[in-house]
């Protein structure tokens, strides 16, 4: 098996899966009906993308794993998502900002993957990018609305920004696996994406009337399986059924 490609797929899929789960927690709890539906729609899209990625990973692994076993039977240290996406739904401002900071990265990443040398990843990206464009429209519009809204909304998104912004650098810390993917023309050059990412983010935040925090970038390690404490709680809920009733079918 192409172990590095397999691990790369897990890295891609885990970001969408963990963020998708976080958004699903909001089902029935959104601040208004429209935002509730929008966030859970986005969650559904992210899970759709994960299924495509994990089905492909299972195929690479000669079906020794399945999309379900990949999703439900790995422990914390075997998850490779960035730490940003596991941060909690503290309030609507945190939810929106976390979403925007991820969408902006995902859009650039998928845009590269449209030209990936890996045909299946290319097809998955072509499918996913259409949805991600809707997601970023939603999250960036809301960032502006909160930033330019009332004093309360402005303060809330400022607080969220101070907490979440320092996690963004992790997207671009190239691991050995990502380096190999870049050399094989499968994955992007993350250093190039970094420049574009922070340009775009700065433009949007300025438009929203928010200033870029001066706090240094926070610890990372998610891509190596080292996470914040939040991931354990997410997995405890997410994997509950499969762990309690192994191999259960819905």
């Amino acid at each position: 098996m192409d172990q590095n490609l397999y691990n790369y797929l897990l890295m891609l899929g885990d970001n969408s899966m963990i963020l998708g789960h976080r958004l699903s927690e909001l089902c029935g709890h959104g601040p208004s009906l429209e935002t509730d539906i929008a966030l859970t729609n986005i969650s559904l899209d992210l899970f759709g993308q994960v299924r495509n990625i994990f089905q492909y990973a299972a195929k690479l692994n000669d079906q020794e794993s399945s999309e379900d076993s990949i999703a439900f039977l790995r422990n914390e240290r075997q998850h490779y998502n960035c730490i940003l996406v596991e941060q909690p739904n503290t309030d609507f401002a945190h939810v929106i900002l976390r979403q925007y900071l991820f969408d902006q990265f995902q859009l650039l990443q998928l845009n590269f993957l449209l030209q990936s040398k890996d045909e299946q990843l290319k097809a998955i990206a072509a499918k996913s990018i259409k949805e991600t464009k809707y997601h970023i429209r939603f999250s960036s519009e809301w960032c502006k609305r909160l930033g330019q809204g009332t004093e309360i909304s402005h303060n809330k998104i400022t607080t969220a920004l101070e907490l979440l912004y320092p996690f963004c650098n992790e997207f671009f810390e190239t691991t050995e696996v990502e380096k190999e993917m870049m050399e094989r023309g499968i994955g992007p050059n993350l250093e190039e994406l970094r420049v574009q990412y922070f340009d775009n983010v700065t433009t949007l935040l300025n438009e929203a009337g928010l200033s870029i925090p001066q706090t240094p970038f926070r610890v990372s390690g998610g891509k190596h399986g080292r996470h914040s404490e939040h991931l354990g709680y997410i997995l405890a809920e997410f994997q509950y059924m499969q762990k309690t009733y192994p191999n259960m079918q819905w």
């Binding site: 429209e34 935002t35 539906i37 929008a38 729609n41 986005i42 559904l44 899209d45 992210l46 899970f47 759709g48 993308q49 299924r51 495509n52 045909e119 299946q120 290319k122 097809a123 998955i124 072509a126 499918k127 996913s128 259409k130 949805e131 809707y134 429209r137 939603f138």
Partner: protein
């Protein structure tokens, strides 16, 4: 250049027309444009099915319904999910668009107009109740992944709009 015209055996059209989208029952899978190939090889029907949205839960149901419909017509079938080329609302048949509107879902406008309606709030989507275009977007995300929620400012009724996906 990949052909976007589906390759469908004429003998199968009658059967495929009987299988509908579980969420929009007036649309058959052919109206929806999700069948990219349906051919008979060695007495087995081979179908290539493409999802509308990646997370669309209707796809699993459609797969099962297709198998059943073919079985009732004494066909064995093999259904394969294909992602490329990615589905676009351009593949909704003209008949499908008319059925959508009659069902109460405004059909997708072209890419440019869609953006104007959803992003810039231009009043161009036709109300499915009273035909007025004096309508506004309530939420870009509607009751299913493929729809947005609109409201008519003349008759005041809400209605779904099938978003353009390109």
């Amino acid at each position: 250049m990949v052909s976007t015209l589906p390759n469908i055996d004429p003998d199968l059209i009658g059967i495929l027309e009987q299988v509908s989208d579980p969420e929009i029952p007036v649309l058959s899978v052919l109206d929806l444009g999700v069948i990219r190939e349906a051919v008979i090889r060695d007495e087995v029907v081979h179908i290539k099915l493409t999802p509308t949205y990646t997370g669309c839960p209707a796809m699993d149901t459609i797969s099962v319904d297709l198998k059943q419909a073919l079985q009732q017509n004494n066909f064995k079938s093999k259904i394969e999910l294909v992602l490329s080329p990615a589905w676009t609302t351009d593949w909704l048949s003209p008949k499908g668009k008319a059925k959508l509107e009659a069902y109460g879902i405004a059909p997708p406008l072209g890419e440019e107009l869609d953006k104007k309606a959803l992003m810039d709030g231009e009043r161009i989507v036709k109300c499915t109740h009273c035909q007025s275009t004096n309508t506004k977007v309530i939420s870009a995300f509607g009751s299913t992944a493929c729809k947005a929620l609109f409201q008519c400012l003349d008759c005041l009724e809400p209605f779904d709009y099938f978003k353009c996906l390109k």
